[in-house]
Amino acid sequence: MTYDERLQHVSVLGAAGKMGSGILLLTALEMADVSLKPENKGKPYALNAIDVSNEALAGLMNYLRAQVMKAAEKKMVQLRMVYAERADLIENSEITNAYVNYVLSLVRPVTRLENAYDSFLVFEAIKEDPALKVSIFRKINENNTNQPWFFTNTSSIPIGELDEQAELGGRVVGFHFYNPPAIQKLVELIKSKNTLTEVETFALAFAKNLKKTVVPSHDVAGFIGNGHFMRDLLYGVKLAEGLQPGKSFAESIYMVNKVTQDFLVRPMGIFQLIDYVGLDVCSYILSVMYSNLASENLNCPLLDELIALGVKGGQYSDGSQKDGFLKYEKGKVVAIFDKTSQSYVDIAGVQTGCDASLGALPAGTPLWKNAVRAKDKEALFAPYFQALKSLNTPGASLALDFAMNTKAIGQKLVTDGVAFNENDVNTVLLTGFFHAYGPINNYL
């Protein structure tokens, strides 16, 4: 079966979710490009958008329409060539409409898993629950006579475990997009020891056509991305708890978040990032990793405590941030959760005192939005970390402490045989997490 044939019948599971919708969009665009090739004219192409929620599927179709329109506008030069023979399509607006209608005509929004029984390829982006994934894979595999391939978006579950338990015979690969899939360039590619070569070959070709940067990871729970993030998370929590004898819970969260954002020139502080991913999702990932890597304590009681209080983070369907450790208004942090009173305290009451305790940022601290685009990172960050070292303030010490740990986490991913090399770790943090510099560096 060729690449083009494989894409003739595809299903995306969890298609209306945060990750699934992006995967669906990218797959729909790729299928459209393939099916519009002259040699594929007249062949049927179908993409099942499978999700449990009808309501979410309606929202998905609106999202899809808007995004495909943008994609059409961006590649109008190519589309005019694709539609060169269509004498009725003259203006760009007519070509956009034709293309949007065509792409949407490939997509079938459905709520029944049975639709995947005809597919050659199944993308999975459901809840990070190993048992659920296994049971769904098994069900599709048993009822589908096409020997379908499974591309799972899991960010933590070992692929070999899914393969064995669902009895997929090596027809499964980890194809881990970053959020949001339509924008983030990174895909972590995880083969199990049984993954078939042709599955990997297809995955690489697919990623290339989607213009993604592929970083391979060994099949160890958490892989590179969450392997790093979850340990960063645990260390952030540890640092916050270390501040608590003298500081309130909310103050400690504010301080560590500020240090990990402003002092370390990251796009988000560690607690904002946890909110962005979702406390419940983080907790799931930690439990998956912990069950696979029992020798390391990957428990985070604080997360479970907060989840029990209904503090979960994550995003609304319009992409806006739900409240978690922090409370947001129009994307800005306005308050911080206080565990004792179980309510949010206004940032104004926390900020001034905490900023004074931390001490000022070094003069000329780079702004993340500029630093992320800077060409010579070393010229920017080597002197910055030197300045940080010379400060001798609590803020600078916390920042250096966290930076040393984040570097050690990265190095351990290589020595533990998760990442192939240090460069891959840095690539994941740079492209998947939009960091301005890699965690493994010589700046410290």
Binding site: K75, V77, N92
Partner: protein, 405 residues
């Protein structure tokens, strides 16, 4: 001509421009420009006729019958004769010429001329469809997604091939730099807020045919603009009526008009043949040569059109326009300062208004009212020139002016 006025050229580049927010429409720009000129000439009662220049509001704004906006600008214009003219990007100058003809025909002593366009109502990729109407509609299907950039990219490609790519691209970059530097001096210019350090380095960005066109980058292109320009065309008797001395006016010494077959491709991609024809007629009609010009406003819808204009006007031989520009001869201190408020690339290109804006710039320069943009006007070279082009060298108007005496 007297009482010139330009609104801001609104669009990307202006700090106050936000594509996501609601913006002023045609009505706003027409009122601002029209009322400003009316105030300078003593009010609407002094106007005999009105001419509106607008290219394609029918598509950008769903609006036709534009002449009927004059009474909206000022109630005093109610029931006065008004007409709207169109000739793609040469619309503004056609509006001027239409007014001039009324003066010559003695049906009017004072003609109010306004050019207007509001183009930021749709994304550029769809605006390209509307603007493509300046070419032959039957060529649209085979044309580029960005139709006109595609046309002029072909001209640039042919020019690279015949006269060398590197030097030509450097000359484009210099043209861009001159445009932005002039625009920075002009508060109404779209690029007035531009703070880029090395403009020429920026403009040397390699063209990318996959996302845009093969031989030009975005800095080689004029702006997508909203704006209006207005001016009054007045006979000697009219000047007396409105009480403005001749020295505050510019006189039209001569002009040349020309149209070329819209269905034909350019006879020579490396020459603006119709520009050359219209300019020659203008010089002949004025009884001058290009040597006597103090300044010229040329139609730099793309940098390549700017370079080709230096050749079509006689300042450089074919193939030597890039040298002329790179030698600094078109800069504000050069032999012939061109587009002293930034031209279509720096000031902006609200298509139907552009021809009028050119005349307003010449009026300001020749009467010493160009403010920070003022260049030196030497007595031995007292003339100004505007060249306004519609489509790819299809509809042309060239006008020669001199300060009133």
């Amino acid at each position: 001509m007297v009482a010139g006025y330009n609104t801001i050229s609104m669009g990307t580049g202006r700090k106050e421009f936000n594509p996501k927010k609601e913006r002023p429409g045609l009505e706003h720009y027409l009122k601002e420009a029209g009322q400003a000129t009316l105030q300078m000439i003593g009010g609407a009662q002094n106007v005999d006729e009105c001419v509106m220049g607008n290219f394609i509001a029918s598509r950008f704004n769903g609006q036709a019958n534009m002449a009927a906006f004059f009474p909206f600008i000022d109630e005093g214009l109610r029931f006065k004769p008004a007409i709207r003219v169109e000739g793609a990007c040469a619309t503004g100058a056609l509006a001027l010429v239409s007014g001039v003809r009324s003066i010559l025909a003695e049906t009017a002593e004072v003609v109010l001329v306004i050019g207007v366009e509001v183009q930021n109502t749709v994304k550029a990729i769809y605006g390209a469809d509307y603007l493509a109407a300046a070419g032959w509609a039957k060529n649209r299907k085979d044309g580029h997604a960005y139709f006109f950039p595609g046309q002029f990219s072909d001209r640039a490609g042919a020019y690279y091939e015949r006269f060398g790519r590197d030097k030509t691209r450097q000359a484009f970059a210099r043209w861009f730099r001159n445009a932005i530097e002039n625009a920075r001096l002009c508060p109404t210019a779209q690029e007035h807020h531009n703070t880029t350090g090395d403009l020429e380095a920026l403009a040397m960005m390699e063209p990318n045919g996959k996302s845009f066109v093969d031989n030009l980058n975005v800095f080689d292109c004029s702006k997508v603009s909203d704006g209006a320009s207005s001016i009054a065309i007045v006979s000697e008797e009219g000047l007396k009526r409105i009480g403005i001395p001749k020295s505050e006016a510019i006189e039209i010494i001569g002009w040349g008009q020309a149209a070329e077959d819209i269905t034909l491709p350019p006879s020579d991609l490396c020459e603006l043949t119709t520009v050359k024809n219209a300019a020659a007629k203008a010089f002949k009609s004025a009884g001058i040569t290009h040597e006597q010009l103090a300044t010229a406003e040329v139609h730099d819808c793309f940098t390549i059109a700017g370079i080709l204009s230096t050749e079509a006007l006689g300042f450089a031989k074919q193939g030597e326009g890039p040298d002329f520009v790179l030698a600094g001869e078109t800069s504000r201190t050069g032999r012939i300062p061109m587009n002293t408020t930034g031209g279509l690339i720096g000031w902006g290109h609200p298509t139907g208004a552009t021809g009028v804006h050119m005349a307003v710039t010449i009026l300001e320069q020749l009467t010493g009212k160009a403010g920070a943009n003022q260049i030196e006007i030497k007595p031995e070279r007292p003339y100004g020139l505007t060249v306004n082009m519609g489509g790819d060298d299809k509809t042309l108007v060239a006008i020669v002016y001199k300060r009133g005496e």
